[in-house]
């Protein structure tokens, strides 16, 4: 406990770095996955290749991506941007299928009513389909958030600053304190991400609360 207090500023700094490396890809990944998922739903012939293709991305081990991306992107070896790009790829890989399935779960008759009411396709997407798909997408986003927090810590093997450095430091000195502090911080961070997403989902789906359903 005293070790934690003595190193509070380290914990703070590394937590913020971790938020950046795990959180930013969530946002960017979601923004990229939305049009891709929509395409997969709009043109059913794309569904299988898209979900399979992007699912493939997920099978590439994280360490490999972190190390090989600089060669592909032309970034410097220790640049945290490599981690952000890699994590974005993973988030997209996870979310494309979720977005496609979420949009697919919107009942056909709802879509037809919207068209009958005069909604254009674009308006229908943003006003009807997307909001109704939110519960499913947010479930996928929660999984992605927790997964991201854990994967980012692996970048500690490369010395990239984030909470994972507590792990490598603790192990190298056979010292439990930093290890526990790091693990707890990661779990708490994952929890915070989860809560934010749940709250945002609730705010975006007031109709579920109104009818007494659980999101």
């Amino acid at each position: 406990m005293t070790w934690f207090i003595d190193h509070l500023d380290d914990v703070q700094a590394r937590t913020l770095q971790h938020v950046y490396l795990a959180g930013l890809p969530l946002v960017i990944g979601l923004l990229i996955a939305l049009p891709l998922g929509w395409l997969a739903r709009r043109y059913p012939v794309l569904y299988a290749p898209f979900t399979a293709g992007f699912g493939l991305l997920y099978t590439i081990p994280s360490l490999a991506l972190f190390v090989l991306l600089p060669g592909l992107l032309g970034t410097k070896i220790l640049d945290p941007v490599n981690v952000v790009v890699a994590m974005t790829l993973y988030t997209v890989a996870l979310l494309v299928r979720t977005v496609a399935d979420g949009l697919g779960a919107v009942p056909e008759d709802v879509q037809q009513s919207a068209t009958a009411m005069g909604y254009t396709r674009v308006k229908r997407f943003f006003a009807i389909e997307l909001p109704l798909a939110v519960p499913v997408i947010s479930a996928g986003l929660r999984v992605a958030a927790v997964s991201n927090v854990s994967i980012v810590s692996v970048a500690a093997v490369l010395g990239i600053p984030q909470l994972g450095l507590f792990f490598t430091d603790g192990f190298a000195r056979a010292f439990y304190d930093p290890l526990f502090v790091g693990i707890i911080a990661c779990v708490v961070l994952a929890l915070v991400f989860d809560v934010i997403i749940v709250l945002a989902t609730r705010a975006l789906t007031p109709w579920l609360r109104a009818t007494g359903d659980r999101a």
Partner: protein
């Protein structure tokens, strides 16, 4: 109603992005040490100190950083980068400017045919072998070498005192070391070339860390790579085998720096540090970090103030 939901969505996304961006600007993802100054990599006049991924290297980096800060230099640290094969490219692409090194192995990295084994000879060879953009400052008396370590009982049982004694016996022994040993001249290729040794099995573990130590103690390996400044050798009834053919040449601690980043102030500060470092001192400092679990920057600060360097 539609309008407010859209606004809400945009607000949520904006909030998430701000949180994420806050992580960036507040935490400065490019620096590791909380004691470092702001700004990204080497800002105007600033210098970035890196370290390898073992505690002694981080400690030396903190000592260098502290000494430079005391002289008013702006310092950022990027510790625990990895093995030499990773951080030398980082040095060459400007991600770091300065790193603590060891003369013998550094020479071998740039010159596979390095021959010298004494401190002065190695240092001369090193200076000749370095690429034009890099340079080394004064070397210190402190040395830390890899050592092939065995359990004392096992060594006695086999009648082995030096690495040369392993000839004929090594085929039955399991050796453990860092993954780099598979390709480095300080590892398996070196044992083959210099002593004619081949081992039954190689277990890739860590760089003289707790995994290697524990594997030695528990018997998963018969011989392992530990560093000569490691307090664990004495504390655990282990013995470092002698190295009569100087596979591990002189390994004096020396600052490796990008020439364009060096200046008289920096050189003066680092040379003063090197003058005060000897093997016994270094070993004692490492013990404080590894055994006593004190922070590297704290131990560094104490060393510097004790020697009027920071």
């Amino acid at each position: 109603m539609k309008l407010s939901r859209t606004t809400l969505t945009i607000a949520t996304v904006a909030a998430l992005m701000t949180t994420a961006a806050c992580g960036n600007s507040g935490g400065n993802p490019l620096s590791t040490s909380s004691s470092s100054s702001s700004g990204g990599s080497a800002a105007a006049g600033g210098i970035t100190v890196g370290s390898a991924d073992f505690p002694e290297s981080a400690l030396l980096a903190e000592i260098y950083a502290g000494a430079l800060k005391a002289k008013g230099v702006k310092v950022t640290t990027k510790l625990n980068i990895g093995a030499r094969e990773v951080y030398i490219p980082a040095l060459q692409d400007g991600s770091i400017d300065l790193i603590p090194e060891y003369t013998g192995v550094l020479t071998q990295y740039f010159d596979k045919n390095a021959k010298a084994s004494d401190a002065e000879g190695v240092y001369t060879e090193l200076k000749a072998a370095l690429p034009p953009t890099l340079t080394v400052l004064d070397k210190s008396a402190a040395e830390d070498k890899d050592a092939l370590v065995m359990k004392k009982s096992k060594a006695d049982q086999l009648g082995v005192k030096s690495i040369a004694d392993l000839q004929g016996k090594s085929k039955d022994l399991v050796v453990g070391g860092p993954p780099e040993w598979k390709t480095r001249l300080t590892g398996l290729p070196g044992f083959k070339k210099i002593y004619g040794l081949e081992f039954k099995q190689f277990r890739p573990l860590d760089a003289g860390g707790p995994l290697t130590l524990q594997a030695l103690k528990s018997g998963q390996i018969d011989a392992g790579d530990l560093f000569t400044t490691d307090p664990s050798i004495a504390e655990n009834d282990l013995v470092a085998l002698q190295d009569p053919k100087n596979m591990y040449a002189a390994q004096n601690v020396v600052p490796l720096i990008t020439k364009s980043k060096s200046n008289p102030t920096i050189e003066g500060a680092l040379n003063a540090v090197s003058a005060k470092l000897d093997t016994a001192t270094l070993a004692a400092l490492v013990k404080e970090v590894v055994s006593d679990k004190k922070d590297a920057d704290v131990v560094a600060k104490e060393f510097l103030s004790k020697n009027n360097l920071g």
